[in-house]
């Protein structure tokens, strides 16, 4: 209540002008600016400080508030983007509502950008403070309402990411709804043969995860299901989950994690895909390996970066180099294990590659030498490399992105196993065609500067992960953005990688961009811990910078509701008829509704039209309205 009175009282403004050492003081006549501030209406106290953000500066603010009974505080110093929380907290500690604090930026926006014009910079600093005073006089105390949070999580997508996130939340003791579109858990990994950098089967690797999820008492699993609708805001989402052939489930949800994964780009029309029988994508190849239905091969070519990095898609898909290398090694090491149709005549292509056929003796010597160099017995090495004699593997690449510690080692291992890496440039893409009955790769040898050909039995195309085609729908439903390539876009690329800008919704896994399982699991654990913060706190503070409806002016047209990016407005029948109602906890204070309301019935608290107009006026003329 005391705070409301502060607002109603005649403004008593205190202005603290900062030297910031010489950062401001060296380029702006700070004492004269402080003197000027004293002449402005309702300013009862003004001073300059060497460092306002240092202990004595903050003490000066607190004492100023007490001694001069200030009910508005202005600090003219650096940028609100870094220092507002500090000064606001200082005001609050002296009993002043933080919304009665005004920040004036005379460093980043003045002293640092007009370093050779002290007079002009000083004049500008004065103007900026006058603008601050004009604004401060109209400020009102605001309260941040506490809103209860339903302590239940929702995870969308039952791949590795979604399962990990759901388990983390469930282990923390929160009930979780896990919604998976398909009939079983596992996501994309279900297609895969083995997982780098282990040799373990993909199915075996994720089996324990799936079992844990299924058994967990806190996880309610919805298979063959999607989220049909969602409304509400952080802590209070009303979600409808639709399951094939069953009744809809309604759930009250506190926070939501999006983990809907990605798909493999289908290289339609590229490199003979869908044109020649043995041209497959990496995923298709893994499926063949997993099902042990590979035809017998002598000569295999991988083509990396198919459709990515500036071709169909702009980005690097991050995982494909390592997936390519993994499969190249698999072919060399385990090829016989994966063969299915070996005995079936007809499917076997028995041509020995003409090119670079090195005589066996020489090969043997090379191999033994490598073995000796590593202090191994020649014989042991021989045994290990056994099958490679029978198969040639070439990886056509733009450059190999085998980042980090393990991948570089794996890459080296593949080199040792005689996997060949041939570079191409975007100007000279390899071509896949039939030479008579022979599948052939034509390429430009960058070192020899010559066109070469290579007869092959199979071409494996490494295509990028691409966004789910229905990501747009989900993004609209949840009011969270997609980036240019259709992946979900986090709030901040460096500092908030698993948050959406919308509070209460988080993201992990390949739906936010290509990543491997290690990264997915890391992100999922991170997203779960972020999502758990409001759940365990039990409440959230609603942003006070929000819109407010003047029900006398509002005609209930609902235009504001369509403009709001967060569905924070509903139109409801009340005592005065149909009126807009703002859900404070969902409103983010962008102001779009206020700028668009045809009746000007929406006020943006803390950024009202009047506040912006007087601030502008004070910047144009030497007046404070």
């Amino acid at each position: 209540m005391a705070e409301k009175n502060e607002t109603k009282d005649k403004p008593r403004i205190g202005v603290f002008v900062c030297h910031c050492g010489s950062n401001i003081g060296g380029f702006v006549d700070v004492p004269s600016v402080a003197e000027y501030a004293k002449t402005l209406p309702d300013v009862v106290y003004a001073t300059d400080n060497l460092y306002t953000c240092a202990d004595d500066g903050l003490t000066a603010i607190r004492e100023g508030i007490r001694k001069h009974n200030l009910n508005r505080v202005i600090v003219a110093s650096c940028t609100p983007r870094t220092h507002a929380p500090l000064f606001q907290a200082t005001c609050e500690s002296a009993g002043l509502n933080k919304y009665l604090f005004t920040f004036v930026n005379i460093r980043e926006h003045c002293s640092w950008v007009h370093m050779k014009e002290k007079d002009k910079a000083t004049r500008k600093a004065r103007d900026l403070i006058r603008m601050g005073v004009a604004r401060a006089r109209l400020l009102e105390a605001q309260e941040e309402a506490k809103v209860d949070v339903a302590a239940t999580g929702l995870v969308i997508g039952g791949g590795v990411s979604g399962m990990t996130a759901a388990l983390s939340l469930a282990d923390m003791g929160f009930p979780v709804h896990l919604v998976e579109k398909e009939g079983e858990l596992g996501g994309f990994v279900k297609n895969l043969n083995n997982l780098y950098v282990t040799e373990k089967s993909a199915t075996e690797t994720i089996k324990p995860l799936i079992e844990k999820v299924k058994a967990h008492k806190n996880i309610k699993l919805h298979l063959n299901s999607t989220m049909k609708s969602v409304e509400g805001f952080i802590g209070n989402y009303n979600v409808v989950i639709g399951t094939k052939g069953e009744e809809d489930t309604k759930a009250k949800i506190g926070t939501i994690i999006v983990a809907t994964g990605a798909l493999e780009f289908v290289p339609e029309g590229l490199y003979g895909y869908n044109q020649y029988p043995n041209v497959v994508t990496l995923t298709e190849f893994e499926i063949l390996c997993k099902k042990k239905t590979l035809p017998k091969l002598k000569n295999v070519a991988f083509v990396q970066c198919v459709g990515s990095r500036g071709q169909n898609k702009s980005y690097c898909s991050r995982i494909c180099c390592n997936v390519g290398i993994k499969n190249a090694i698999n072919i060399v090491d385990n090829y016989e294990n994966m063969l299915g149709l070996m005995e079936k005549a007809g499917t076997v292509v028995e041509k020995i590659p003409v090119e670079q056929k090195v005589p066996d003796e020489i090969l043997d010597r090379r191999r033994r030498r490598r073995g000796r160099e590593r202090g191994e017995e020649g014989e042991a090495e021989e045994a290990k490399l056994g099958p490679s004699e029978k198969i040639e593997v070439t990886v056509f690449n733009r450059d190999v992105m085998a980042y980090g510690v393990e991948h570089e080692l794996t890459y080296n291992k593949s080199r040792e196993k005689r996997v060949k890496f041939v570079r191409y440039t975007p100007e000279h893409l390899p071509r896949v065609y039939m030479e008579g009955n022979q599948l052939t790769v034509g390429y430009f040898h960058e070192t020899l500067k010559l066109e070469r050909t290579m007869p092959v039995d199979m071409v494996i195309l490494a295509t990028p992960l691409v966004a789910q085609p229905d990501a747009g729908e989900l993004s609209q439903m949840l009011k969270v953005p997609l980036g240019q390539e259709g992946f979900f876009l986090e709030a901040h690329v460096k500092l908030r990688p698993v948050d959406f800008a919308t509070d209460g919704i988080y993201v992990c896994g390949t739906c936010r961009g290509p990543s491997d399982i290690t990264e997915c699991v890391t992100q999922a654990a991170a997203a779960a811990s972020r999502a758990a913060i409001p759940l365990s706190k039990g409440y959230v503070l609603a942003e006070a910078i929000a819109s407010e409806v003047n029900t006398d002016l509002c005609v209930g047209c609902g235009i504001c509701a369509t403009l709001c990016p967060y569905s924070a407005i509903t139109v409801e029948r009340g005592p005065k008829g149909m009126k807009a109602v703002v859900i404070k906890a969902a409103c983010k204070g962008c102001g779009a509704c206020g700028a668009g309301c045809p009746e000007k019935a929406m006020t943006m608290l803390h950024y009202t039209d009047e506040q912006l107009i007087v601030e502008g006026l004070a910047g144009i003329k030497e007046v404070v309205l």
């Binding site: 930026n105 800008a501 962008c590 206020g594 309301c597 045809p598 039209d609 502008g616």
Partner: protein, 254 residues
């Protein structure tokens, strides 16, 4: 001494204000003419605020937002581009050079761009010279009035939606076509507001109006019919004389 334009900048907190901060941190020097007002999003900028700044004497108004796709609030910058595009267009009707209003995208990492932008805009305003707003007060007031009109605001507000999602009938209009419709609606509204202003204190004839507004007489007459229907104009028609019109004062109307 060179003319020092008064430039007001509305910058969104998340990108363009941060870009201006970075210009400072990087010590990129630029002319000191700009006075920045921080808002949460460029979508907050009601065109009326821009007109207000021009009426008050600003020589130029800069609105800074995040690049398309980067708005902290999903699509506030898109909403801004519609509203401010329209504002620029109708300024011409009032005889104010549209170059005085500028919407620009500046990201948090574009300190250099911000500095260049302010330098460039200040230069443009210097070339244009002091704002002629004082002589165009009637026009600006009419614009402010037009931009406050319910029908028009509703149309502008729905613009984005109609282009992106289609209207209630599911028709999607091409952006250009819709902009055209909105522009014409605005022009209409502007001309009617102008008539009401010119006929505020003394009776005027269609011919007078047509001449002073530089609008064909038949168009003026069309407006007059509408305004008469809305009971906003009175007519004086002494026998043998051309009819003249006068604005009916509504209580509280400015």
């Amino acid at each position: 001494m060179a003319f020092e334009p008064r430039l007001v900048g509305f910058l969104c907190n998340w990108c363009s204000y941060a870009g201006a901060d970075l210009a400072g941190v990087s010590r990129f020097q630029y002319p000191s003419n700009i006075r920045v007002i921080r808002v949460m999003c460029s979508g907050r900028i009601d065109p009326v605020l821009i007109i207000e700044a021009l009426i008050q004497g600003a020589d130029g108004v800069l609105i800074g937002g995040c690049h398309p796709g980067d708005c902290h609030y999903v699509n506030g910058n898109l909403q801004a581009s519609y509203k401010i595009g329209l504002t620029e267009k109708i300024l011409g009707l009032a005889g104010i050079d549209p170059q005085r209003v500028r919407l620009e995208w500046v990201s948090a990492s574009e300190g250099q761009r911000f500095a260049d932008l302010v330098r460039d805009f200040t230069g443009v305003l210097q070339k244009l010279g002091p704002s002629n707003a004082k002589d165009k007060m009637d026009g600006l007031t009419a614009i402010r009035k037009a931009l406050s009109d319910f029908r028009l605001r509703a149309l502008v507000s729905n613009e984005l939606k109609i282009v992106e999602e289609g209207n209630v009938y599911g028709d999607k209009l091409a952006k250009e076509k819709l902009l055209d419709i909105v522009y014409h609606a605005t022009k209409e509204e502007f001309e009617r507001s102008m008539i009401l202003l010119l006929a505020k204190n003394n009776n005027v004839s269609v011919k007078d109006l047509s001449k002073r507004m530089n609008v064909p007489a038949d168009r003026v007459l069309g407006h007059i019919v509408v305004l008469r229907q809305k009971n906003l104009l009175s007519m004086d028609h002494p026998e043998g004389f051309t009819p003249t019109y006068k604005t009916i004062e509504v209580g509280g109307e400015q």
